[in-house]
């Protein structure tokens, strides 16, 4: 059952109604990693191949060569999953990363004009809700990704860093727009020349302001980055 994937923590998810799973004598979740059932059940339709395809497709590198210290030593990050009847056996990484990437709750650090494009991305036409990110919580403890949208001044920088510190792990940062990435067109005494001077940034979006499509592209890139993370080992070691 776990032979091919030995060495990594696995979870077993049972598909279908409770009765059937119980009848087949399988437990619902094995080992020490649980996933919320109700959300998975609706997606693990019995004959739904598309999700499984996603799990078995090897991750595209697309020209980006990661620093080997950034990913785990086990570079086989293909999400090979095995299906046995109603049960899908997969790597914990894949499920955790899938869940994390598809429900990234942004902490909108909407400072200036980019905040208006951020709002437009959240509105009906560009609908960030498709990506699970419409929950714009202004509370750092409840959010995953901080979207720095707008010019960061030196006066604001300490507030921004404090809010970043208050966010709980795992957290990511998208620097939206030219001002957040490098200071933009404001080469002056009052503007922080790039928010990466105070917080580590995962994705930079260029534009002044970037179109909502560009911000969604950044979110997708961040999702792909999240999918490459060795989250299970991080969780277990932390």
């Amino acid at each position: 059952m776990g032979g091919r994937l030995s060495g990594c923590p696995t979870i077993e998810v049972s598909v279908g109604r409770k009765g059937r799973a119980k009848a087949k004598g399988r437990g619902r979740v094995k080992r020490n990693l649980r996933v919320p059932f109700s959300s998975i059940r609706t997606l693990f339709a019995e004959r739904d191949k598309t999700f499984l395809r996603g799990l078995t497709r090897p991750v595209r590198w697309g020209g980006f060569c990661p620093n080997s210290t950034m990913v785990s030593a086990n570079t086989e990050l293909t999400y090979n999953s095995k299906i046995e009847g109603d049960v899908i056996v997969s790597r914990a990484d894949s499920v955790i990363n899938w869940i994390r990437s598809n429900s990234m709750w942004p902490m909108p650090m909407g400072l200036a004009c980019c905040a208006i494009e951020l709002m437009a991305t959240a509105a009906s036409r560009f609908d960030i809700a498709r990506f699970g990110a419409e929950v714009m919580r202004f509370s750092p403890k409840q959010s995953d990704v901080m979207i720095v949208a707008g010019t960061v001044t030196y006066k604001m920088s300490s507030a921004l860093r404090r809010i970043y510190d208050q966010m709980s792990e795992p957290k990511w940062v998208i620097a939206m727009g030219a001002c957040a990435s490098t200071g933009g067109m404001y080469r002056s005494y009052a503007v922080l020349q790039g928010v990466d001077r105070i917080v580590p940034v995962d994705v930079y979006v260029s534009g002044c302001p970037p179109r909502p499509e560009a911000l969604l592209d950044a979110l997708i890139k961040l999702q792909e980055k999240v999918k490459r993370e060795p989250s299970a080992s991080k969780l277990l070691s932390a």
């Binding site: 208006i116 604001m156 302001p209």
Partner: protein
């Protein structure tokens, strides 16, 4: 509506029969969903009631005025976009007219009509977002989403005209960047036609909404004298009963040819400010339609202002004189005479003023931006005292300020 709240005696008295209270210090912002940008209000609270409010601004101070001393007049236009970033075209126009006053330059009627149409569209866009944000602050999500749908249609029109959704950088000193595309005015007219009933639908969500009226009416009342003493302008001033509208009282860019009404309120509370903004949008549509109906032909830039406006590229690339002219304007900037001017335009947020001190040449010596939001916010310490914390949120929403402008 806030009324006299009687605290139940039995609950509050201590064993000695005395009422012990303590003032709490609360800092609201700078990162806060309802402060419309980076505003911080340092409040002193007695329970839920504000006894002192000290707004701290400057979290978006980017040094625009210093940058202006190091840029030619045309190079500064993108920075004006980002002042009131909800209505960039209106800021562009205000700045261009201010600099043209330096040179005493009158642009041709077509250019004036284009500027008026774009400024009024920007006004609609800014008020829609103001209403949406006000709605969100008091709990009405739908208004925000509906108004953003309309704004997306406006963005499409702006993009067709200028190339950018917002932050358009459309005007130049002595004209606009390019002429309107084929059929654009027809599309604007079509937008206006479908917009009016949708606007009624959006306003219907709030105007007679019991919750909204309770949150906005009677909250943040500003008297006429206070409004004038603090330098309030725009819808905030008109809601207090002062019928001052620079488009009517000191017309610029051809506004005198258009017929429109000025919405004036009576009580000066948040509800009046909301109603004034709603009515202004209807009047803007009226102005746009008149401008399109009268849309003149001709040049979209002042052709005879040789040292101020660059000639069209087709001439620049083929004729020597225009090449030199273009070179001088791009490198040195439009040649302005020495002197001082002050010009205010009626922006959606209030009166945006530019005080320009020029020593000649293409670069200003001093450019002061008189921001309406800066003055509108200065009344906060007075208005918030005695209100509850949730009323402060409602006051901020109704004052409708933009920090990009306030801090420059």
């Amino acid at each position: 509506m806030p009324a006299e709240y009687a605290f139940p005696d039995s609950a509050a008295k201590t064993a000695h029969g005395e009422f012990e209270t303590e003032k709490m210090s609360l800092s609201m912002g700078p990162s806060h969903p309802s402060t419309h940008g980076v505003l911080r209000i340092q409040m002193e609270l007695d329970g839920e009631v504000v006894t002192k409010a000290d707004p701290v601004v400057g979290y978006l101070h980017r040094g625009d005025e210093k940058i202006a001393e190091n840029m030619t007049y045309n190079q500064f236009v993108p920075y004006t976009d980002r002042l009131d970033y909800l209505a960039p075209l209106a800021n562009n126009m205000a700045y261009a007219i201010a600099v043209e006053r330096l040179a005493k330059l009158e642009v041709p009627p077509r250019c004036q009509a284009i500027r008026v149409i774009t400024a009024e569209m920007a006004r609609i866009s800014a008020h829609l977002l103001g209403l949406g944000a006000f709605g969100i602050d008091v709990g009405a999500w739908t208004v925000f989403l509906y108004s953003f749908t309309e704004r997306e249609k406006l963005y499409k029109l702006f993009e067709e005209l200028t190339g950018a959704r917002f932050t358009t950088s459309y005007t130049r000193i002595g004209g606009v960047a390019r002429d309107v595309p084929e059929g654009w005015t027809g599309r604007v007219d079509a937008f206006c036609e479908q917009f009016l009933p949708l606007l009624e639908e959006i306003l219907n969500l709030l105007t007679r909404n019991r919750i909204f009226v309770d949150r906005a009416a009677g909250v943040g009342v500003i008297s006429k004298e206070d409004a004038i003493a603090y330098g309030l302008t725009g819808p905030n001033l008109r809601a207090c009963g002062v019928p001052l509208d620079l488009r009517k009282d000191k017309p610029y860019s051809g506004y005198e040819q258009y017929e429109f009404d000025v919405a004036v309120g009576t009580k000066g509370d948040g509800y009046d400010r909301y109603l004034v903004r709603g009515e202004e949008m209807r009047q803007s549509v009226r102005i746009i339609r008149q401008a399109i109906a009268k849309f003149p032909g001709g040049a979209w830039y002042a052709e005879d202002a040789k040292r101020i406006i660059a000639p069209p590229k087709s001439k620049v690339l083929t004729s020597m004189e225009e090449l030199i002219q273009n070179f001088m304007i791009v490198t040195e900037g439009p040649l302005m005479p020495a002197g001082e001017v002050y010009f205010e335009a009626e922006n959606p947020k209030g009166a945006l003023g530019f005080y320009i001190v020029s020593k000649g040449g293409g670069v200003p010596w001093r450019l002061k931006i008189r921001a309406p939001s800066f003055c509108n916010l200065s009344i906060l310490p007075k208005v918030c005292v005695g209100a509850m914390v949730s009323d402060v949120v409602s006051i901020l929403g109704s004052l409708d300020f933009v920090m990009g402008e306030c801090d420059r």
